[in-house]
Symmetry: C2
Subunit: 289 residues, 2 copies
């Protein structure tokens, strides 16, 4: 299945390239362009593999938006060497995001350092390092996007666990410097989601979708394609759109099952899930220019 | 390793029997009595297997407290038949808890009905059915204990996902009728845990401990023994004690790894974990009488 280049239902759709890891950057770009997908979410490792400048030229040449670059973050090191290394790496990521013209640089803030039980301290270090990076990102024209990850990743990936927590971190900085990721997979369970989403107005850097299905043997790779699971994507998409967010809706599906399929099949499944379960609830908009 | 019958460090310790599922009720009771463990957390299925009256007599004969009975709940059915079945089952559980003299009946409130995406509706049904059951529990001298489960279980086990949410549900009822479970494993990641714990004063029905270790192939059976993981059990135990809670501290460790060990080894490991990582932070108290 391929979409139509002028299909207005795809006007806000972005394919995160990690949904189809079997394709390299040229593969993803070619598939999106052919299917009328107007935006891609890129990851630093495959971008580096293809070359940063070459990737920037490729996406621009196909007229694609870069809805996000994944990922900066990992800001929780407790020692000075780790702190400096994290800052250096995030500075490189900011420059890469600027070169690609990405709408935001996603920050996965990092888990607890090995052996640590100091969650409060780790969260304070995230706050401190975001404060260091935010003005630098702003000066480069890059918006940092703090991503709250599902609490099952609090120990090893992100000590920011709720949207409220991400919003409070972002609120310390101008919206153009720091926003948040809304991710249906990470946030669907939150008790006061509607109220917190309303508070996110003006802070949403990117909206990511996937579905919750029973956890498989690897919790990290257990996401479902939109429609396969129990997330109220209709309601969540309407709530995000109601904040005034008119940017890209990015499908990011870490899934051992999806990844085992041929890339073309995976791509078609993701596109179909978006068209059936998300697009009807995301008012189409024009380009973000 | 066995404790000493007079060891004051064990004064608040309770062994949840699901930490050592290789033992039946008599096995758990005998081991606890011999080791100077003053309380047990029981489950309805093994209690039924041994016989309700026989179990009540056995624990009383050994002078053991029953810190909790697991579990009632599963209140999210969307149809009338499911609703009635849930109420009936919970009424039976209340009577069982009364017969055992359990300090509380733990409510695991249930996940989404099959095929449902209506999380808000499921949460409303929990609220409604707790309101039906609370006065009946009170009349039987049983305290309901709402347990917030880790959000990774929101879809299939408990739509109550945070301590704040559990406290708001409980607050609609007298404290003697409805309290909450504090469970280190389910709540350690919460962004405002210290503040929420302080609000739990007077509502804590039981405090359960385990540790967070990397998720294994079965997320349900991935808990660690206290000290093996990254939870700040010292700080959490002090915070719970600071609320005035002087009741039992129950080790409940669902763990494929622990369960694979011989029961005696598992029991000793749990006891050792409690003595080293929890007991020093739980001021010893006398009996709850």
């Amino acid at each position: 299945m391929t979409g139509d280049r002028q299909d207005p239902r795809l006007a806000r759709f972005s394919l995160n390239q990690r949904s189809v890891p079997g394709w390299d950057v040229p593969g993803v770009v070619a598939a999106c362009a052919a299917a009328g997908v107007p935006a891609v979410g890129l990851w630093r490792e495959p971008v580096a593999e293809h070359g940063l400048a070459a990737t920037a030229a490729l996406v621009a040449g196909h007229g694609l938006r870069v809805s996000s670059l994944c990922r900066g973050g990992f800001l929780t090191a407790a020692d000075e060497a780790g702190r400096r290394a994290a800052l250096d790496d995030n500075r490189r990521a900011i420059e890469e995001a600027a070169t690609l013209g990405a709408a935001c640089l996603v920050l996965v803030v990092g888990g607890l350092p090995a052996g640590s039980r100091d969650l409060v301290g780790a969260r304070e270090r995230v706050r401190d390092l975001v404060a260091e990076l935010a003005p630098e990102a702003g000066a480069s024209g890059v918006r940092l996007a703090i991503e709250a990850l599902h609490p099952m990743f609090a120990a090893d990936r992100a000590v920011v666990s709720t949207l409220d927590q991400a919003l409070r971190l972002a609120a310390e900085h101008p919206p153009a410097q720091v926003g948040v990721v809304i991710d249906a997979y990470h946030q669907w369970w939150e008790p006061d989601l509607a109220a917190v989403l309303a508070r996110a107005a003006g802070r949403i850097a990117v909206y990511q979708v996937a579905d919750w299905v029973p956890l498989g043997p690897d919790a990290l790779l257990s996401r479902g394609v939109m429609g396969e699971g129990c997330i109220d994507l209709a309601g969540m998409t309407r709530a995000v759109t109601a904040t005034g967010y008119a940017g890209d809706v990015e499908a990011e599906i870490f899934s051992a099952r999806l990844w085992a399929a041929p890339p073309r099949e995976a791509f078609d499944a993701v596109l179909r899930g978006y068209l059936e379960h998300v697009a009807p609830h995301a008012a189409p908009v024009g380009s973000r220019a």
